[in-house]
Amino acid sequence: MASIALPGMHGREVGYSGGLRVVELNIGAQHPASGHMRLVVYLDGDVIVRVDPDIGYVHRTVEKLSETREYVRIISLVERMTIIDACNVTLPYVEAVERLLGVEPPPRARYLRTILCEVNRVASHLYGLGIGGIFLNHSTMYMWAFGDREVFVHLASLLTGSRLTHTYPVFGGVRRDLPQGFRDEFEKAKRYMLARLREYDKIFFNNPVIRGRLEGVGVLPRDRAVALGATGPNLRASGVRYDARMTGYAAYGDLGFEPVVGREGDALERVWVRLREIEASLEIVERALRELPEGPFMNPRYTKAVPPMVRHWLEKGRLKLPGGYVRLKTRPGEVLSRGEMGRGEITYFLVSDGGTKPYRLRIVTPSARNVVLFDALARGHTLMDLPAIYGSIDYFPPEADR
């Protein structure tokens, strides 16, 4: 820093950058509200003139590692990108491999996948709401959302046996059948969550302080959202009726799905879309449970090969995979598949050369697409609006860095 001498004090100029009188502020990588990343913020007074998101702090070479692993092992690798949304992140990959293998999951498996995806989506949205709350120093929203998320983590563990990294959808079906008592537990969870959503509205969404922080902040007009390639609730909040679930993968085609669409495109609207999507997801799970078809939960092509010694598990609704499952060979070819995660659309591009491992697996995660919004939305706002914008776009660094 340049310095000037003042009587008794040591004066400093706070900085010039490129001829502009700006302060360069490093928010992160060690900062209470940066996440696993760094935001280089350029300030003119209190007004943000530019934000450079510096990503890559949690890059874990998921794409490259995928080339060295058998197909089934990649499922538990890719779900590490977003363990809080594990089913949504793995499902499009599983469907891509299924298409190369030429296997169809039975209808019951498609419904079970949908159920877990929606339970995950609720948990993911609650996580985002909690983080959004603490970004505005609203610690009650933070704790409530994380506490209520446990309900849905519990539902997922009932269904799959594990809280976060379920590895539930596998090629040809799912790992477990619907357990007894899940319907009752879900009924309780739904009633509880709907009551809680009304309380969220009271303490957070309709709180005058929170409204003041979010209303009119980080406005993303419809055409801009499309041009920037924003995705997920951020895109829908700007009034674009687009959701990858509309393509009808898993059981969404049968269940008649309608996305939640906002209008204004400001931070408040993005939070609103998430809150209403929680309600919509609960509806979808309820409908899926009601219309859940009978039948096997795994394609007979693989259950046939289950050794007789562990066959009794299959009757109890649990799959013990046959040994050859790890050496599956796909036909050579390229597949593109996509799905809607809690934070937006995830795309997998899988290239196979006919071996037991992919030749190339390209992954585009929703957070990787939403990272452009930092600069686009924050310009012209004050420094205090940056956490509000960060919280409202629900950005998740490990997901973006892969």
């Binding site: 502020l25 120093n137 003041g212 922080r213």
Partner: protein
């Protein structure tokens, strides 16, 4: 007739009574020793209340039988043994001295604010104004902290402190003056006496001034929803970012000490001070209980609100609350006769 320990000490040692009183008030009650106990309780209560609202347990494992009440003591021990790091680029003397000086300045207020009937260091016809002057000295030292730290977050925090203190203190002073005008006095003892004589507490006579005082006190002491100077999500810990160890503890205690002083003042101005008691012991207990109750209300807001934006706070105070202070003056002028017949 209760025994006055100070009078006994004075006759035993020959030290004049007024000198003993001037030392005992800032050091024992309502001063530092009491403040330590209050801070211990209030921070514990703050964490327990928020935990209750947020479906958590709060502090528990340190002194389990007391519900974790000694957690802050454990934290204090940890902080006391922590190394005090002075950043290389910092201006050493102002960095080290300003938190000490700031806390000392706030402690001076305990000499003039009474803790009960007859329990005070000095009685002055201007004690209200003196208290206000002492409280408004601290922002200068906080700004010095932010400047001396040589850290951009601290510097921005210092800028916020400047804006916030000017904004909050204007409303605070206006509500104080409205109250002083209502009682026709700036002496705490006289003010409490007026309320006792007329049997009307100030909050009933002039609720607008009381409300403004409370809100402005929240802003001046960095309580949620006005904790702009701390602003963890933007500027880490504001002017206090670079502080460690005991110096950090002092910066933390600073806001709680200011809150304690201002809530004592609120008790005297609007809640009738030591009413309904007149004896030093019971009167002091009444003042203490009212002050702690007010502080509990102030810390409870943390579990309801988030943080307001800087420009919204400034515009709320200047365009809405400050004009409201003029209404408080009008009410004071109208209600004035009930206090000075």
């Amino acid at each position: 007739m209760a025994v006055d320990p100070l009078a006994w000490l004075s006759s035993a040692t020959g030290v004049p009574y007024w000198a003993l009183r001037a030392v005992a008030a800032p050091l024992l009650y309502p001063g530092l020793a009491t403040f330590m106990a209050v801070a211990l309780f209030i921070i514990w209560a703050e964490r327990k209340i928020t935990a209750r609202v947020q479906m958590r347990v709060g502090p528990l494992y340190v002194s389990r039988r007391l519900g974790g009440a000694l957690q802050l003591l454990a934290d204090g021990v940890r902080i006391a043994f922590q190394e005090i790091i002075i950043p290389e680029g910092a201006e050493k003397w102002s960095f080290v001295l300003s938190p000490i000086l700031a806390f000392t300045v706030v402690s001076l207020a305990f000499t003039v604010v009474p803790g009960g009937p007859g329990v005070y260091g000095f009685r002055s016809s201007l004690s209200l104004l003196v208290t206000y002057a002492i409280i408004t000295l601290t922002p200068i030292l906080v700004i010095t902290m932010g400047w001396a730290s040589n850290n951009k977050f601290s510097f921005i925090g210092a800028g916020r402190e400047a804006l916030v203190s000017i904004t909050g203190e204007a409303t605070l002073l206006a509500s104080l003056l409205a109250a002083a005008m209502m009682y026709g006095s700036m002496d705490f003892v006289a003010i409490v006496g007026e309320q006792a004589a007329s049997r009307v507490p100030g909050i009933a006579a002039n609720p607008v001034a009381a409300l403004l005082f409370f809100i402005a006190a929240l802003l001046v002491t960095d309580r949620v929803p006005f904790d702009l100077v701390l602003g963890e999500q933007e500027i880490v810990q504001g002017p206090y970012t670079e502080y460690t160890g005991l110096l950090f503890a002092l910066t933390m205690a600073l806001d709680y000490a200011k809150l304690y002083v201002l809530m004592l003042v609120f008790t005297h101005l609007f809640l009738g001070g030591w009413a309904p008691f007149a004896s030093p012991l019971l009167g002091s207990a009444a003042v203490f209980a009212k002050t702690v109750g007010l502080m509990l209300l102030a810390v409870f807001l943390r579990s309801v609100y988030g943080r307001m934006r800087l420009d919204q706070v400034a515009s709320m105070f200047w365009s809405r609350l400050f004009p409201l202070a003029l209404v408080a003056f009008v009410i004071s002028a109208l209600i004035h006769p009930i206090y000075t017949p």
